[in-house]
């Protein structure tokens, strides 16, 4: 069985899951990964027993055929953006900017900016709004920003975005990871997918919008009128 990479293992293990306070998972989508299923659990157990052990390869763990990150589902996605990483870091670090390209994030407002605490208002399907309060847990200028939800949040989640120089002067490889404790499990994820709010799907699109915004100054739309956007 493929194990997850050091980076993700570290990321998933760094904090304990907090008490779940909501049955909603619409939110904060960034990245792509199918989560743990009953089969994956079975397979992981089987593999741990040594029936088909293989050493880890170089790919990120979220692309593994079978994976498990404790109680968390982890989604992630990498995109190359033709801008210096310091610029991208600064844009992202101003959390208020995030609602500009994250489609279902209505707003991100500071609670205590000095402590890196923000309140995210996230739009779910059927007009439900979800509130997430986060604090920055890692902040390395030009390299990485990580945050996690506070006890007061409706969803237990954490996220990390990292910035690395792309080879050949192609700009920056931006990798975003989101871990969340999926309330409702597979069923919840499936329902969310129907409404296109599933974090992996939403996250993939959000990262593409981020790339569009910084590379072109706008976010592509086929709407013929502002009111159709």
């Amino acid at each position: 069985m493929k194990l997850y990479s050091d980076r993700e293992q570290d990321f998933a293990a760094r904090s304990e899951p907090i008490e779940r306070q909501s049955t909603l998972l619409w939110g904060l989508g960034l990245g792509a990964l199918a989560g743990a299923s009953a089969y994956a659990l079975y397979a992981a157990r089987r593999d741990r027993d040594g029936l088909s052990y293989r050493p880890a390869d170089s790919a990120p763990g979220r692309s593994a055929k079978q994976s498990r990150f404790g109680e968390y589902a982890v989604v992630g996605r990498t995109v190359t953006i033709d801008r210096p990483r310091d610029d991208l870091y600064r844009y992202w670090r101003n959390f208020k900017n995030l609602s500009g390209f994250m489609e279902n994030v209505k707003s991100v407002e500071p609670i205590e900016e000095a402590k890196g605490r923000f309140r995210w208002m996230i739009e779910g399907p059927a007009g439900t709004d979800v509130r997430i309060e986060t604090e920055v847990v890692s902040d390395k200028p030009g390299e990485e920003i990580a945050w996690r939800s506070l006890q007061t949040s409706q969803i237990d989640t954490k996220g990390k975005v990292s910035f690395r120089d792309a080879p050949g002067n192609r700009g920056t490889e931006v990798e975003a990871l989101i871990a969340y404790d999926p309330p409702g499990g597979e069923l919840g994820r499936w329902i969310a997918k129907l409404f296109q709010a599933e974090p992996a799907l939403q996250g993939r699109r959000d990262l593409k919008r981020f790339k569009m915004l910084v590379e072109t100054g706008e976010i592509a739309t086929s709407a013929n009128r502002k009111s159709d956007k």
Binding site: D82, E103, R170, K208, E215, T216, I219, S222, N224, R225
Partner: protein
């Protein structure tokens, strides 16, 4: 405004729809003066391309006058422009490499999922060509919203009629890139399958690039006549064994380069299951594959295969063995229109390239549905239809 809308298979109608407006800063609004029906529009007309919704405005070959420019547009009001069918941001990795049709940033993020799944990567945005290619309202309309108007449109100086320059939007650069992808050397024999507008422009381009002879293959007498008029030798496949004839006409050598300007266009963008259904329903799927197979078999050892024809799914019985054992190269892709517009406009100005011979019919936009019907069902005579929003209907 009035616009040609898709309603279903073989059902297109000119309807009144809301005018477009500037949505993004780099947009411009163009008042259309001429817009053509493309061969690839017929596959929308045939209803075989998924992701086309009732009410979608078709059309991706158009030109006109700038009526409004967004704050980040470089266009000025009243400029005349031709607009490439490919929408390209100009700043992403692909655009910087002049691979404009592969633009990362022009297909809206929420429309990229399906082609990403189907092709491994999302395709760029196109005007009026299904929601897989972005769902952008097309050019067979009185007005069009043109995104990234600082990158795509080419400004046309005074002294050109619309009919001289309209085809810079698609088929002229597409024929040109087809010949460029064939890497033509002096003395080459080049074979072109399909004498539709792209094939005819490929014939013209291949001769310009130094081919000693170009052999065009089709079955419509009038289209073969046009190819001959362009300087090609022709093969009518209904009366001649194509492979044998090509060998004999190239000294037993085989064509140095082959161009498939037919494609499986009626299956563009369709997943394989749908394609199978279409093959059964329409009965032309095998023909599309047939051309590429025949072209590969005809091509000389170490030769080049250029594929401007549109493919969207999977091809049965692809002769990979012939490609490998003969050491062929294949090059294909949606046209990187913006790479060619300036040079081709210059060649038109110099009188090197003729575009008018292609046009068989000019109609008012209001008669667009007739144009579609005839372009689809009377292919021999209706080689190219240009729609003019301001043209008065002919009396009677």
């Amino acid at each position: 405004m009035r616009a040609l809308t898709w309603q279903g298979k073989h059902d297109v109608r000119v309807e009144t729809v809301p005018d477009p407006e500037i949505v993004n800063p780099r947009d411009a609004i163009i008042e259309v003066t001429s817009t053509a029906i493309c061969g690839s529009d017929l596959h929308l007309y045939d209803g075989v391309i998924p992701g086309v919704l009732s009410g979608d405005i078709l059309g991706h070959e158009f030109m006109g006058r700038v009526v409004e420019a967004g704050p980040k547009s470089t266009l000025k009001k009243d400029q005349r422009v031709v607009v490439p069918f490919t929408i390209s941001c100009g700043g992403c990795f692909h655009c910087k490499k002049q691979q404009f049709s592969a633009c990362d940033n022009s297909n809206p993020a929420e429309k990229q999922d399906l082609t990403e799944m189907q092709f491994g990567h999302a395709v760029g945005g196109l005007f009026g060509y299904s929601h897989l290619a972005g769902g952008y309202p097309g050019g067979q309309a009185e007005y069009v919203r043109v995104p990234f108007s600082d990158v795509g449109p080419i400004v046309i100086p005074d002294g050109f009629d619309d009919d001289d320059v309209l085809f810079l939007s698609d088929i002229l650069p597409t024929g040109w890139m087809a010949a460029e992808n064939a890497d033509i050397e002096e003395g080459d024999t080049v074979a072109v399958w399909g004498c539709g507008p792209v094939g005819l422009f490929a014939v013209q381009s291949a001769l310009k690039m130094g081919a000693a002879q170009v052999i065009a293959i089709d079955h419509y007498p009038n289209r073969l006549r046009l190819a001959r008029q362009m300087g090609a030798k022709v093969i009518d496949y209904t009366q001649t064994h194509v492979l044998e004839a090509l060998m004999e006409m190239s000294g037993g050598h085989g064509p140095d380069a082959v161009i498939d300007a037919v494609g499986m266009e009626s299956h563009g963008f369709a997943p394989d299951t749908m394609m199978d259904n279409v093959k059964q329903a329409v009965g032309i799927g095998a023909d599309g594959g047939h051309v590429l197979r025949e072209a590969i078999l005809a091509c000389r050892k170490g030769g080049r295969v250029s594929v401007p024809g549109v493919y969207g799914g999977f091809l049965d019985k692809f002769p990979l063995g012939a490609m490998m054992e003969k050491g062929l190269q294949i090059r294909t892709g949606q046209t990187h229109v913006q790479r060619y517009t300036k040079e081709l406009l210059h060649r038109i100005a110099e009188g090197e390239i003729d575009t008018r011979f292609m046009i068989s019919h000019r109609l008012p936009l209001e008669q667009a549905a007739d144009g579609y019907h005839n372009f689809r069902f009377n292919q021999n005579d209706w080689t190219k239809v240009v729609l003019k929003p301001n043209m008065q209907p002919a009396a009677g």
